[in-house]
């Protein structure tokens, strides 16, 4: 049984349909990447899985149970956490408070404040600062740490590399490896294709709200993806 499966997942923003019948599966312990151009529906798909968009119950199945109708805070309770695009830290909370907020649902598990600080030592040094005082890379770490604090079985990461310098992105992806080594399942949305493919074992390429291509990452001709993606 897959940890996550979507069945003909469709999603709308008002009158506008953003996803058309997405079928994807994610196995426990896997890291799966979703890539595609702007507006292809990647973020929408993550938001639907996180409960931020209303869908039919059966469209999303988690651990064998239909959960498509649940609210976002319920999703956290069953074990789905999200690192939203653009980090979305709470500006009036300190770094530590942001992390503690991630633990609001009280889901038990290995991740505690100490372990998150162990993963991102820089956050420990800055724990009393308000979140906006952090650099982009530190904010991203804080956002990942905040999601981890809910001890998720499935971690959804939206554009971790957005607006960050390459060496910082490298750091964050190194940490992500440490997280997946714990057995946490990860779904990555990235526009930095190589980064996404390096970190994942399988990928889905989205186009106009549909899955255009899916394959294991290993041995896949990257130039082909790049060509398809950019039309170069």
């Amino acid at each position: 049984m897959s940890l996550l499966a979507t069945h003909q997942l469709s999603a709308f923003y008002g009158d506008f349909q953003a996803l058309f019948g997405i079928d994807l599966t994610v196995e426990e312990g896997e890291t799966v990447a979703i890539i595609g151009a702007n507006g292809a529906g990647k973020t929408t798909c993550l938001r639907a899985v996180a409960g931020a968009l209303t869908t039919e119950p059966n469209m999303i199945e988690f651990d064998g149970k239909p959960i498509g109708h649940r609210t976002p805070h319920d999703m956290v309770r069953v074990g789905i956490a999200m690192v939203p695009e653009g980090r979305r830290l709470f500006p009036s909370l300190t770094v530590e408070e942001n992390l503690l907020l991630g633990a609001h649902s009280g889901r038990p598990g290995p991740w505690t404040l100490e372990r998150v600080y162990g993963l991102f030592p820089v956050l420990k040094d800055l724990h009393h600062l308000p979140a906006p005082a952090l650099s982009g890379g530190q904010q991203q770490m804080c956002a990942v740490g905040r999601a981890l604090m809910s001890n998720p079985r499935l971690l959804l990461c939206d554009e971790l590399s957005l607006g960050l310098a390459p060496v910082i992105i490298q750091d964050i992806y190194t940490c992500l490896e440490a997280i997946t080594d714990e057995g946490t399942t990860v779904v990555l949305v990235e526009q930095d294709i190589n980064r996404a493919l390096d970190a994942s074992s399988r990928f889905y390429c989205f186009q106009e709200g549909r899955i255009a291509l899916t394959a294991p990452t290993d041995g896949f001709d990257r130039d082909k993806i790049t060509a398809a993606y950019f039309g170069l």
């Binding site: 151009a37 702007n38 190589n194 950019f230 039309g231 170069l232």
Partner: protein, 241 residues
Amino acid sequence: MPTLLQLDQVSKSYGALQAADQLVLSVEEGEALAVIGPNGAGKSTMFNLITGDVRASSGTVRFKGDDITALPAHARARLGMGRSYQIPHPFANMTVYENLLVGAIFGGHQTERESYESCAEVLKITGLVDKANVPARTLTLLQRKRLELARALATRPNLLLLDEIAGGLTEHECAELVKTIKAIHAQGTTIIWIEHIVHALLSVASRLVVMNFGRMIAEGDPHAVMNDAQVREVYMGIPAS
């Protein structure tokens, strides 16, 4: 050719975030300029600084030789700037034709009667004739993007700023759009186009600017710029080897 638009050391910061950092850019009349860069690189911010949606923290913006840094967006539109938004902002409760009419009357200095023909022409160019009398809220994303273009054209701009209007198009639709933009350009409209679909850009643009972290990191002949190692790394994540 005379310079149409000039940015001189234009910067914009939001607190600690430097959204535009010392931008210097000069666009000649009749040029077609392409802008690429990762998400969050500051491309749309540059557009907003040009059109006046956002005021510069420092630096000057010149249009047709005049300093327009202090002018509000509507005054700049009346001087001959038309823009599309990356996320379409249709006037949802007005018909497509009425959407155009706003541009024709206020940005294009036409009376309502004078504008009939030109609005009809724009509808034809942008393939929205069949949708002329439906409320804009019923349009699909694709049609909304076309409406963005159509509305900007209705102001009869000298400078047309296009922000990702080809995103999500099929190969064929993209080719159609390129044809349209080429035709607009051929009529003498200066164009600045932000897009991720590089091949579409390159078939129209004669110059390419690459942005990252609010700065311009490369500029020049499109093919030369695309082969630049730094650009490949920043834009596509292909490590310089």
